[in-house]
Amino acid sequence: MSELRRRDFFGIAGAGLFVFFHPDPAEAQEPGRLPTRASGPADFNAYLRIAADGRVTCMSGKVELGQGVMTEMAIVLAEELDVAFDSIDVVLGDTALCPNDGGTYGSMTTPLVVPTVRRAGAEARAVLLQLAAEKLGAPVERLQVTGGVVGDPATPAATVTYAQLVDGKRIERHLANIPVKGAAGFRTIGKSPRRKDALEKITGQARYAGDMIFPGLLHAAILRPPAHGAKLKSADTSAAEKVPGAQVIRDSGMVAVLHERPDIARQTLALVRAEFENPPDGPDDRTIFEHLRKTAPPPRVVGAAGDLAEGERLAAGAIVESAYLNGYVAHAPIETHSATARFEDGQVTVWASSQAPFQVKGAVMSALGLPADKVRIVSRYVGGGFGGKTEADQGVEAARLARISGKPVQVVWNRREEFFYDRFRPAAVMTIRAGVAGGKIVLWDHQIVGAGDRDALPFYDIPHRRTTSAGGWMGGNPPGMNPFEVGPWRAPSVNSITFARESHIDALAAKAGVDPVEFRLNNLTHARVRGVLEAAAKQFGWKAARAPSGRGVGVACSIYNNGCSASCAEVAVNRSTGAVVVKRIVLALDVGPVINPDGMRQQAEGCLMMGMGPALAEEVKFRNGEVLTRNFDGYPLPRFSWLPKVEIVLVDHPEAAALGGGEAPIVTMGAVLANAIYDAVGVRLLQLPMTPERLRAALAKG
């Protein structure tokens, strides 16, 4: 890093022992299929610091979205350093202090960053043991560490603490190849200590981007178009300008009102008389599926094997073909996109609710024409992301307005803005033509439109198969294919694809006259998927029967980013209202060895609850570029009364690599409920969400 950056960094971070990120591009980069990536860590920020008071600070560019990354980092560092969990502080999402280790998405923290943090801990421990050996006059091999105190068992009276070893020094190290601990020696990994963020969150002291308050702070309300594609023709701001304390800003297309009170800024914006030119007519939430079929790019073969014609011949007419539909789904975090920007001495700091602070940094630099050392982004606590806070346009808005006004500026989107600018999970059409012979799947022709192709290939043993994909969440769609921007939503692609695949597997099982669990096992050699399927069925007490059995039970399995999950569910269907009540869900999950079991359970429970929403109720309504869904009254999130009995089985897989688990548990929710509904009433719903209206209509059709 440059001398200036060094001074800034140590000015903020102080003295002590630092272990720096080693810029190993192979390790720093994210899997190639991810949509956006940092260009590798150009700045050498620290991974950890041990201060003269003995406290350990872990620094990572990852962000605490609620998924527990703060706690996970502290667990692994406590483990590798042999210090108390409570002596660790975790600094996240601060571009001035933390290494650029990639955005917080794709369940990548556990497989990619946690191992690096562990190595930093092992490195620091090795350095400290060398220092201790000199101090104690004992060989390194003989030293033992407990709670940050180094001792020599040969002379028990002689001990030295990490704090004493680093006192007054500034020791800089870069990651070397110090081995990390083996599972047999774990003291903290595999335990579930109190979450690092717990106390701040239950006392209201946790500060989110919209909770930053500074003297002179102004709140912004920004004029928005009524529809995507609408163009501003004119804006009469004269009435707004007369409001005492209000400042109206017009800057390259943006019209904003600033006021020291956020509510008065909003009221004043309502006085602006704006005229927009409406966009041409476009699809709505009913016509979108036909529109997608027409506008999608040419399909690309994701994977194929055998010969589809041979599969057709083998199936000898035992063929099922269906088109599965999935509407647009919003992220709908309870915290809307928020940012607070403040200039000091030509440098801007933006507190932004973002999953990717380094990406926001780049966006602010380019929007304001500022060099890297003049922009600092801080994303400490974020009130839910789910993929929807990967971009952070509000951070750029706040920074622009702060520069123009010369005052700190806060931008907090209201709920309507949140629904309007959300980059939704894309709508999708998935057509599957498949066949069975002798209880075996012999043909699988899957055409995916709109969803994307992540983990799109079936993991069943199918000799003749082809999967194609056209368009998706990751961009590259033809203009106008989606009437607004789309993006990653918790386990992108895989929610839609799993709904289609696992629904269709059940349809094949029914065609073959075989129990759905047995049918899957008969067509599955993938050991880890078999493992979770058997674990889920066992915990559920699955009793073999041909569907529809009238019991209302369903099963589904999936793979997301190498994590395997299977679920069984029981539902009750009200035939006259079409309402579905989920009574029980069992989820079995295999994401390798689990660093924080309670943390994993929180994620899994959350996924099941959240996953019921898009399965049963959530769907964005729109027409001609206008987003008609504006608040929660038009967008039903799962609530307390939906809460089923939930059981999570963590399938232990100690020899495997640790995987992230914040997304894998959600992906089976559409299919498992569709299959359970079919088992209850003998009607298969091919479109999500499975609303009471759709179920009533399907029952009426029979």
Binding site: Q67, I334, E335, G384, F386, Q602, F640
Partner: protein
């Protein structure tokens, strides 16, 4: 019309100079700097802004500040000011939150429930909390935490 509005906030006499039509949420957050009470929807649809006025949970995003004149207002900052309340302790014990953004509203709503119904049934908890939204899906743990807090308080919230 700006005027001086007085009420008791978290046990302390408080006055603000504000138009009585302004919503309590913004007065708390902006005029008084108490940011524990969160904005989520602005239309009493999510519960993130819940505070207690008198003995009842209200949505501060639709409660005019003029309406709390002379009354007592309790926010998340007031609930924990003399050490953690039983509800907070139970949320801690159960990790009954993830992102934490809806948590102040959840805790304040639960506190109000226990004021009114010290030993609620599970059904009463679900009914009372129904309109507090949580996107992370911590619902099961929140219900368990409220049950534990009710048992710990033995007869009522303090």
């Amino acid at each position: 019309m700006e005027r001086t509005i007085s009420f008791r906030l978290n046990g302390k006499p408080t006055s603000v100079k504000a138009d009585g039509q302004r919503m309590l949420l913004w007065v708390l957050r902006s005029d008084l700097g108490l940011t524990g009470t969160k904005f989520g929807c602005g239309e009493a649809l999510c519960g993130a802004c819940t505070v207690i006025v008198g003995n009842a949970a209200v949505r501060s995003c639709v409660t005019p500040v003029g309406a709390v004149e002379g009354k007592t207002v309790l926010t998340i900052e007031g609930i924990g000011q003399n050490g953690l309340h039983a509800v907070q302790q139970a949320f801690l014990n159960h990790h009954a939150f993830q992102c934490g953004y809806c948590t102040p509203g959840m805790i304040v709503s639960a506190y109000a429930l226990l004021l009114e119904t010290p030993r609620p049934t599970r059904e009463q908890i679900v009914r009372h909390m129904e309109d507090n939204l949580c996107r992370c899906g911590a619902h099961g743990r929140i219900v368990e935490a409220i049950q534990e807090a009710a048992a710990a308080a033995k007869g009522g919230a303090r």
